[in-house]
């Protein structure tokens, strides 16, 4: 570790946890928009369950991120309700509007398949509490992956319209998947301290799972080498995040004494 850098291992840990948490919170919030609007009852329940899991994951990660904060008194509510969009470090993939059911399914598949390999590779990290969370969350990620993968195949290999919709969703989402494998000095420091993983080691396996699934779904695989968006880990977002935050945060901000209990 270079002594000239101002990045301490505590800041790296906090940043790493917040990135993971922000991805899950924002995607969970997007998926929760389906509650009461699912295409059928079972899917309504499934999507609400998945949203609940993702928000649950983010809550545990935010709580733990506070341990690495110099103030040390930040609650999950602070991270969720009292930060503005440049402070959020979630992937743009997660903030895109919910779209139709095909779009939601395609995004969940791309995100959960990545999460599966990421969490599998984080199973043996040093930090006991963080490792416990990751092990716990991986179990749930498996359901999200199985469920979304099944539906990508059902829609792709379904009717002409369902095939067309899921193909269009994948084409639209494709430029947002490059960021999944973004890595910077935060990741390097986490790998160095035994609490992170080098995502490039499972890039091939992930790509293989995606290709196998799309092929089984009779879908065309978009161009891996096309233009890919970047910047979210540094707080650069699409216009959609602001709208999402406005809806998610306004109540808590307007009523300072609002409480869960």
């Amino acid at each position: 570790m270079s002594t000239t850098t101002s990045l301490t291992s505590d800041i790296a840990f906090r940043t790493y946890l917040l990135r993971l948490a922000d991805d899950r919170l924002i995607l969970g919030q997007r998926i929760s928009e389906w509650c009461g609007h699912g295409p059928e009852l079972e899917e309504d329940l499934a999507l609400a369950n998945i949203a609940l899991d993702l928000i649950g994951h983010s809550s545990a990660l935010y709580e733990y991120a506070n341990q690495f904060d110099e103030r040390g008194d930040l609650t999950p509510d602070h991270f969720v309700y009292f930060r503005d969009d440049p402070e959020f470090t979630n992937l743009q993939l997660c903030e895109l509007p919910r779209g139709d059911y095909a779009f939601t399914t395609a995004r969940l598949f791309l995100f959960s398949s990545f999460s599966f390999f990421l969490y599998r590779n984080l199973q043996s990290i040093e930090d006991e509490q963080f490792r416990g969370m990751i092990q716990k969350h991986l179990k749930e990620v498996k359901y999200h992956l199985r469920h979304s993968r099944d539906w990508v195949i059902k829609l792709g290999d379904g009717t002409d319209i369902s095939h067309q919709k899921i193909q269009e969703a994948l084409n639209e989402l494709w430029m947002y998947i490059g960021e999944l494998f973004y890595a910077d000095e935060v990741d390097q420091l986490m790998v160095y301290s035994g609490n992170g993983t080098d995502t490039s080691v499972f890039h091939g396996e992930w790509k293989q799972l995606v290709e196998q699934t799309l092929t089984e779904a009779t879908l065309e695989i978009p161009d891996w080498d096309q233009f890919m968006i970047s910047g979210s880990r540094k707080g650069i977002h699409s216009e959609h995040l602001g709208h999402l935050l406005a809806q998610m945060q306004f109540l808590r901000r307007s009523h300072q004494d609002a409480d869960w209990q």
Partner: protein, 168 residues
């Protein structure tokens, strides 16, 4: 005022056995594998519990249930700690607990899969026998059911929908 020192560890475990999971009232929190550890020192009782599913709303109720039970038994100096160090798994459920689930009409969890087996299992559905008639002619309706821990199945033999406690 009675405190932790009037109660033995074994007694605390007995009290915890009286706290049930509100979603599955047929199992108590020891059988569920939620109550992990009890420490009794001079003036203090500490109970460690572990969450089942990350977003499970029953966890708050369970935590409250433990607190209420300890107060009811006259213990005032205690804390209930949420422990994440070991991830909860349905493998911690006893055979007896799984029998109780089945009698209650919920198909119990089987052994969990490791990551490599999981990947190969992606294309193929496992068979979950019907808890009512033991038929194997059943079909998965949804991976997600009325609570985070259950999936929806349907039995083609006795024409009954039923829930399966997912392997976790």
């Amino acid at each position: 005022m009675p405190t932790g020192n009037n109660h033995t560890e074994a007694q605390i475990w007995d009290y915890l056995a009286e706290v049930v999971d509100p979603e599955i009232p047929v199992l108590n929190i020891i059988e569920m594998g939620i109550a992990r550890q009890v420490d009794v020192s001079d003036q203090h009782v500490q109970v460690k519990i572990t969450p089942t599913y990350s977003g499970c709303p029953a966890m708050n109720a369970i935590e409250q249930g433990v607190k209420q039970k300890l107060e009811e038994k006259g213990i005032s100096n205690f804390d209930v700690v949420m422990d994440y160090s070991e991830a909860w798994t349905t493998d911690w459920m006893t055979g007896e607990a799984k029998e109780k689930l089945k009698d209650y009409g919920i198909a119990p969890p089987t052994e969990t899969l490791n990551e490599e087996d999981f990947l190969t299992s992606l294309s193929g559905n496992k068979v979950v026998p019907c808890p009512f008639c033991d038929s194997l002619d059943t079909v998965l309706q949804s991976q997600f059911g009325s609570t985070a821990c259950k999936a929806q199945y349907f039995c083609n033999s006795c024409n009954q929908p039923y829930e399966h406690f997912k392997c976790h």
